[in-house]
């Protein structure tokens, strides 16, 4: 139900570390905002497009992922072109597309688990300060992925319940039972986690 958006592969981007990819995305993204020359923005767009379309993503899949965001960008930039200038809109278009394409390429070449490991590592300094528990992040991710299918099944049975009673399926009458039924499990799940000792109390701190 929740498969990652990444594809397997051996491109340079696949082999690069997550941290490096995110750093490049951040630095290049910010750097592009400092640039307003089309002589740099158009090549940047072409290069990122080449990177994005060579990640091993099937062509139709690559296009369909871009569609919603391209739609938003176009609507906004048509307004910009009309209200300010054509040139400014063109600059924004190539800059945004370059960033979006590279972001898409990072997403397509990085496995979910690699991201989670990296987030946990990045949180280590905060963990040492006692502000967060880095291991909790992985646990929380796991819980979400584990319970989405369950909650979806629950939604379906509430919907069936509505149909069986001849009621219209409305968000209003679905939300309350769905939320209450789901959150009621929290105590049991928390007990199960504690019983297995997944969140050991800190020994060194506090």
């Amino acid at each position: 139900m929740l498969n990652g958006l990444n594809v397997e592969g051996t491109t340079p981007l696949h082999r690069m570390s997550v941290r490096a990819k995110l750093a490049i995305l951040l630095v290049c993204g910010l750097a592009l905002y400092a640039v307003s020359s089309l002589f740099i923005l158009i090549p940047a767009f072409v290069i990122t497009a080449l990177i994005y379309f060579t990640t091993g993503l099937a062509f139709h899949e690559a296009i369909s992922r871009l569609k919603p965001i391209l739609f938003t960008i176009l609507i906004l930039l048509i307004a910009t072109a009309y209200l300010t200038s054509m040139r400014e809109a063109a600059e924004s278009f190539f800059r945004l597309m370059a960033i979006v394409l590279f972001a898409g390429a990072v997403t397509a070449t990085t496995a979910t688990s690699a991201f989670i490991d990296e987030i946990t590592r990045l949180l280590q300094p905060l963990d040492r300060l006692g502000l967060v528990r880095a291991a909790d992040v992985g646990l929380a991710f796991g819980l979400v992925l584990r319970f989405v299918p369950d909650i979806f099944n629950r939604y379906q049975s509430i919907r069936e319940g509505h149909r069986a009673r001849g009621l219209k399926v409305r968000p209003l009458t679905i939300l309350a039972p769905l939320i209450i039924l789901t959150l009621k499990d929290a105590d049991t799940i928390a007990m199960a986690i504690d019983a297995r000792g997944f969140r050991r109390p800190r020994e060194k701190h506090r």
Binding site: L5, L76, T80, A108, I116, V137, A190
Partner: protein, 187 residues
Amino acid sequence: MTTRDLVLIALFTAIIVVLGLIPPVTLGFIPVPITAQSMGVMLAGCIIGAKRGALAYVLLVLLVAIGLPVLAGGRGGLAIIQGPTGGFVLGWIVATFVTGLIAERLVKEGQSEIKQFTWFFIASVVGGIGVLYAIGMPWVTAVTGTPLSAVAMGSLAFIPGDIVKAVIATLAARAVLAGYPLLHARA
């Protein structure tokens, strides 16, 4: 943070993901179809409160960032955060916090039903609409160069739908408060 809080946060994030899988509803008098997921900010703030609600959204934004298709229509990935509407995605966290803060302070368990409805509605409108647009719209302007006034005019099309969402979130939050109160419960 207790294990129970952690579980509540993760379960709420999972609920928000599931709300994105429910087909959107079109109401006759509103131009934009309503996705159940976009009520998540108001629901999270009003049901599990400021801190846990905001953390549920931090978790959701992280799920988006790591490339899981958790948003309505199977969207996800870093491009969403880097794109023109990224301000709204990041704004969800602050918006949920503000919604929760108002709801926690003003809604009491012994209050009359009318008062609870009123405060939940105000919390949803201020946090889920006011704060969200206050962050999302300038972001659009900063990223695309579209004048803020034009972005604001365009956003007006979404306001009627947002008010409907605030009403639905208010009724749902009050039902949960009556059935399984969590807003003020701290372990």
